[in-house]
């Protein structure tokens, strides 16, 4: 039972918080959905950057690929009707992301570092420019009219239901990520992050591991993008600017690099903050437009006092008290 304690608490929270929000503050349901979507995005980024050590400056591009694939397949007619199913569209988005990710990272992952940063940065820019300038993708005004998320005849017709759907995805992605990092694969991945030569000599096929984690992170971003498209019922280019990447990076620092639950903490902090500022503004009007300032202050405070992030700190304290040989075999 103790083994599943975290999960039970988490599931209970997921079940009750949306209901609570709907009765007490319905306006915050949208924020809860955003936090969920953002969590998936942050965890995907953390897998590549925090665990794998592979920088990806075009991460928001894969978010866009997911969102636009969903938008095109669910809005435009002409393809077999099965493709306009949200789940099928989401899956297609993942496939497109995987193919693109493979093509752009294949030549540079081997060298990594600076080249990888440059190529992924270029990818993010190309995606933005394409979305802005190509009429097929709706140009600057984007694509609107995306239906509500549904699975066959089952429509998630209110924000409350969609909130549950999104958090089901969050639950699933946290679950899978924890499995991935708590395995031989995860250990080898962190070995690659730490020292590629030592990892290679230990028997790790370094370039294969880098590619795998890159593809996985692209899939996470793509799924988050699809969910986001259904949430806003439309997509447009300003959603996928470099600012999004900065927020994701910020969330990783807040929550703790190389921690899965930290992704959730960081996402909640980054996406919850604007709501907090808005709430405070009604008491102190001068607080409006201080969001960026607050991000900055919190960022500096966290770097100063918790360089390992909020969750990273919690885990460290927890692990200190658990140090017995043979005990606590699970590492994350």
């Amino acid at each position: 039972m103790a083994k599943y304690r975290t999960w039970i608490v988490f599931i209970v929270l997921i079940l009750f918080i949306p209901v609570l929000l709907r009765t007490l503050a319905p306006a915050l349901l949208g924020r809860a959905i955003l936090i969920g979507i953002f969590t998936i995005l942050v965890i995907g980024f953390d897998l590549a950057v925090g665990y794998g050590g592979q920088i990806n400056l075009g991460f928001q591009g894969f978010f866009a690929v997911g969102a636009y694939t969903t938008a095109l397949l669910t809005v435009r007619k002409g393809l077999p009707v099965i493709f306009s199913e949200p789940l099928a569209a989401m899956l297609s988005g993942c496939m497109v992301s995987v193919v693109i990710c493979y093509l752009i990272s294949r030549p540079v992952l081997r060298t990594g570092g600076f080249f990888l940063a440059m190529v992924t940065l270029a990818f993010g820019m190309v995606v933005y420019t394409l979305a802005n300038g190509w009429d097929f993708l709706g140009g600057a005004s984007g694509i609107i009219g995306i239906p509500r998320f549904h699975i066959g005849p089952l429509v998630f017709s209110t924000d409350l239901w969609y909130c549950y759907a999104v958090w089901a995805f969050v639950l699933f992605s946290i679950f899978l990520s924890l499995r991935m990092v708590n395995s031989r694969w995860g250990i080898a991945l962190r070995a690659v992050h730490s020292d590629e030569i030592a990892a290679e000599v230990t028997g790790v096929h370094v370039s294969k591991y880098k590619m795998e984690v890159f593809l996985i992170s692209a899939i996470y971003a793509s799924i988050a993008g699809s969910l986001f498209a259904h949430h806003l019922r439309g997509v447009n280019p300003p959603m996928f600017t470099f600012t999004l990447l900065l927020l994701v990076t910020l969330a990783i620092f807040f929550g703790g690099m190389g921690t899965i639950w930290g992704g959730l903490v960081g996402a909640a902090l980054v996406q919850g903050l604007p709501e907090g500022v808005t709430a405070l503004t009604s008491y102190w009007p001068w607080m409006s437009n201080t969001r960026e300032l607050l991000y900055g202050i919190i960022f500096v405070l966290i770097i100063l006092f918790m360089p390992e992030g909020v969750f990273g700190r919690v885990r460290k304290v927890f692990m200190e008290s658990n140090r017995l040989p043979g005990k606590n075999l699970r590492t994350r």
Binding site: I187, A188, I197
Partner: protein, 259 residues
């Protein structure tokens, strides 16, 4: 020779104009402890890097267990049964514990890849647990069991060397390449290291090829010594032969009157 585990034939490595290893040939036989010595810059570490696949040789051949491995990459050689340590310790530090370092060392002895983790979790998990148990055994072997959950930064220098050894041993290699295991260790620690080398060969049956500056350690452990100077073989023989070789004494220790 039938019992040759590692054969190096006419190996040459040039970095631009600098020839670090020149036309080197030698053999390491099964169950042997072979030491490679030589003055600074003689090409000893380059030689190990060529054997373990970190560098690609300019020319020449390497055969491991009778199979040519000259063109295969380092991880493939690890799968074939090579393990090594580094002169300037290269442990996995990115938030990884001592235990996790050794679990990483079990990589070649375990199988689950990404798909295995996602689709066959039960098996992956069982494999991971047994890898962890094995890793604890190896930590016990080098005496680091009490520190299993420490981070690498909390270890002393000597402990870090032991940990690197445990990581290499965890893959249960047939050939263990040790790059200056005793560098930076004090007299007592170096003697302990020498005993451990003998123990690894005698009880685990692992063939060892070591690069070393500590002459006591070399003379006490090695069955055969290869002396390098400017990337070329100066002598190859038993410790007694090497100690009495005029060439070696002149090149390695200086002129006889100063020796």
């Amino acid at each position: 020779m039938d019992d040759a585990l590692l054969e190096v034939v006419n190996l040459t490595k040039a970095f631009g104009g600098l020839v670090a290893v020149c036309d080197l040939s030698f053999t390491v036989r099964r169950g042997q402890i072979k030491a490679i010595i030589g003055p600074n810059g003689a090409g000893k570490t380059t030689c190990l890097n060529l054997i373990s696949g970190i560098f690609c040789p300019t020319s020449g051949k390497i055969r491991f267990k009778g199979k040519p491995v000259t063109g295969s990459s380092a991880y493939q050689r690890a799968y074939l049964g090579m393990g090594r340590t580094f002169q300037n310790i290269r442990l996995f530090t990115a938030g990884m514990t001592v235990l996790e370092n050794v679990v990483a060392g079990r990589h070649t002895r375990t199988k689950t890849g990404l798909l295995g983790v996602l689709l066959r979790w039960r098996r992956a998990s069982r494999e991971f647990t047994s890898a962890t148990e094995k890793a604890l055994e190896w930590l016990d072997f080098v005496g680091l069991l009490p520190k299993a959950h420490s981070t690498v930064g909390e270890l002393t220098f000597a402990e870090q060397r032991s940990l690197e050894l445990a990581r290499a041993l965890a893959s249960e290699p047939e050939l263990l390449l040790l790059d200056e295991l005793a560098a930076g260790l004090n007299e007592a620690e170096a003697e302990h290291a020498a005993n451990r080398i003998l123990q690894i060969r005698d009880t685990l049956g692992i063939t060892i090829c070591l690069v070393e500056h500590n002459m006591n350690l070399v003379m006490n452990t090695a069955d055969e010594i290869l002396v390098l100077n400017y990337g070329q073989e100066l002598a190859d023989g038993t410790p007694t032969e090497i100690q009495n070789s005029e060439d070696v004494i002149r090149a390695y220790l200086g002129e006889k009157k100063y020796a």
